[in-house]
Symmetry: C2
Subunit: 381 residues, 2 copies
């Protein structure tokens, strides 16, 4: 973990080298503008075509603002869709363009006089849409940030605001699950899928995990079992009688299905659901529509719903969010929720802009690869 001192070494305040600053002298930072290096787009388009590295001048912060220094930020598929303009949330275009990235963790390095709930040294994650996290510094009103525990790794903290809450809320808000209950999910090797397996395991819930067949299926299944998966099956086995038997042997009807694939996969999952179960859809990776038989809906009393973390985040109270993040941090600290499988791209202050751009584009292209297992995470050194 980085100390405030080591952070200071990397802080650039225009005209004043911060290296060697003391904590008290940090307050000075509020009086100066700051340069942020940011991945910016001026219009919608393929991210590799429209994004480029820019140096942005952040004016001195206002009384109700904090200045934050980013520690880590992932490149998520929804970030890409957002830049393409095909996502319901649009980038925040300003004069200089829009900074990409919605998720990440930052440290507060300066706070205005009227800031109440944050202090220098706090770790924060965005609590608003289209924050712009692919940059080294940002100024923000404090209410657009959510304080987060510092007792977790910066990789965990930078990826805590989208995937783990998606898993957490889907396991909590649709069916009142009890210990020993069974759920099923497809896309089980996704970052959400990994979080589902681990949170379910921590809560005593059994998981049936569906993944696409692949050359290293056994290896993947092994990894998922290590995370706590009860069963791991292939998409094409969803309809097999042997699968029905396996599911039956779990001893409880399947009460909840989580779907990020759609098409045949969602339909196959529906067939394994028990009476009064819910199917929650949070993605559509196959780009196929959801297709269900009418009978199971009527006679098994199924429900199909959507879940979108951005909506939850917008509608939930600060208190509910704090409760959830505390709970998630607790799970992380307790060793129940590991960092997602990831590749780290180190964004070093000593890198020149061309190098940073090249590093970013490489990570971006991996993040855009269909069905990639590994999350791409920028870490700012």
């Amino acid at each position: 973990m980085l100390s405030t001192q080591s952070l200071l070494k990397n802080t650039i305040v225009r005209g004043i080298p911060t290296s060697g600053m003391t904590l008290s002298s940090l307050k000075l930072a509020t009086n100066y503008s700051t340069i942020s290096k940011a991945m910016v787009c001026e219009k919608h388009g393929k991210p590799k075509d429209v994004l480029r590295l820019k140096e942005l001048t952040i004016p001195k912060i206002k009384d109700d603002e904090v200045l934050v220094k980013f520690l880590a930020a992932p490149i998520n598929p929804s970030d890409i869709n957002q830049i393409e303009g095909v996502y319901p949330i649009k980038p925040r275009f300003k004069k200089y363009g829009a900074v990409g990235g919605n998720e990440g963790v930052a440290e507060v390095v300066a706070a205005g006089n009227k800031v109440k709930n944050l202090t220098v040294g706090d770790w924060v994650i965005p609590d608003t849409k289209a924050f712009g996290t692919w940059q080294t510094f940002a100024a923000s009103p404090e209410n657009e940030l959510q304080k987060i525990s510092k007792n977790i790794s910066k990789i965990s903290a930078s990826t805590i605001s989208v995937n783990p809450p998606t898993a957490y809320r889907m396991l909590k808000d649709f069916v009142n699950l009890k210990k020993g209950d069974v759920i099923i999910q497809n896309g089980a090797n996704s970052a959400v899928g990994q979080a589902v397996i681990q949170i379910a395991k921590a809560w005593g819930i059994k998981t049936i995990n569906v993944v696409r067949d692949r050359p290293n299926f056994d290896e993947l299944a092994d990894q998922l079992h290590k995370l706590g998966a009860t069963l791991v099956i292939k998409e094409e086995d969803l309809r097999a009688n042997s699968t029905r038997e396996l599911v039956k042997n779990l001893g409880s009807p399947v009460r909840l299905g989580l779907n990020c694939v759609g098409g045949k996969s969602a339909n196959g999952i529906t067939r394994l659901l028990g009476h009064n179960a819910s199917l929650v859809t949070y993605g559509g990776m196959s780009k196929q529509p959801l297709t269900f038989g009418t009978g199971p809906f009527i006679f098994k009393n199924l429900k199909a719903c959507g879940f979108w973390n951005s909506r939850w985040n917008k509608e939930a109270s600060k208190k509910d969010k704090q409760y959830m993040f505390d709970d998630l941090c607790e799970l992380i600290r307790g060793g129940y929720l590991a960092e997602p499988w990831h590749d780290e791209t180190k964004w070093e202050l000593s890198d020149d802009n061309k190098t940073l751009n090249r590093k970013f584009m490489k990570a971006l292209s991996k993040a855009g690869a269909s069905f990639g297992n590994k999350k791409q995470i920028l870490t700012f050194e």
Copy 2:
């Protein structure tokens, strides 16, 4: 309405002509067996092949039983599916076979000594599955019957236990509708559809009604408007921009969709739903599966559920049922809920068995016709 006296005229108690009996002498009936003429099947199959008229001897009723004389009973599509064996509810096969029919109204003509809540003269509807209503008499424990108001027509009473409750519950249990809210339904000319239009109208809710195109579309639309429909549109207009405009002009987002068709129709309805709306499926007349885009589920927060009146009926308390039936009878008496469009088949006691069989088979064949507008109802004279 039939008086007890006129009922007595038609009651056959083995060996004792009841014509001219007084009310007090009815108690005698409990001491004798009764002959019921019934449409019975001995196995699953096409109803026209497996059903035949039989004379069944009903033994003298037990202390906790009542003897009822049927007044009217419809032939519903689900009755047909049940005899075919393709419905989750199976006929009650006994030694002599199973009597068809699940819905109808009967009058209590005799009550055992321990019967508490019913008395001679009460009107009752079945409160259990597979009761067998295509018969002239039946003996039943009182808890398998639900008392119903006598201040409605026997056509209304005989069709009150499936379609109106389906409409009533779907309008009540999924979305908290307020005056001025808008709902959409397909199959709007079905018996449920007609009930939806009328109950919604009574509650101040606007309805968009989708029907298949047909030569007499204008006439049908006119009939639905007379029932209280706000808009009537054709299936093929579901996706038209002009429809979007019409719906917009209703002034409120569409909060609830009711689907008994499936396939493209259900999908088209989903596209017109507003944020946080629910789509309730209670039938699948097109035999096409439900197909939805993933996006609307996630980003519009849609819900898709099934509704099955038989389940509600099984799970609801006697009190909740009584409340609903009282409410429905009130709507009927107030002139808000008309008899469903129907053809009446008079089952006269003076008819010989061959005639009764012929009359029944004619009604059955009309009831089985795809997308028939008119409910087929047997009335026992």
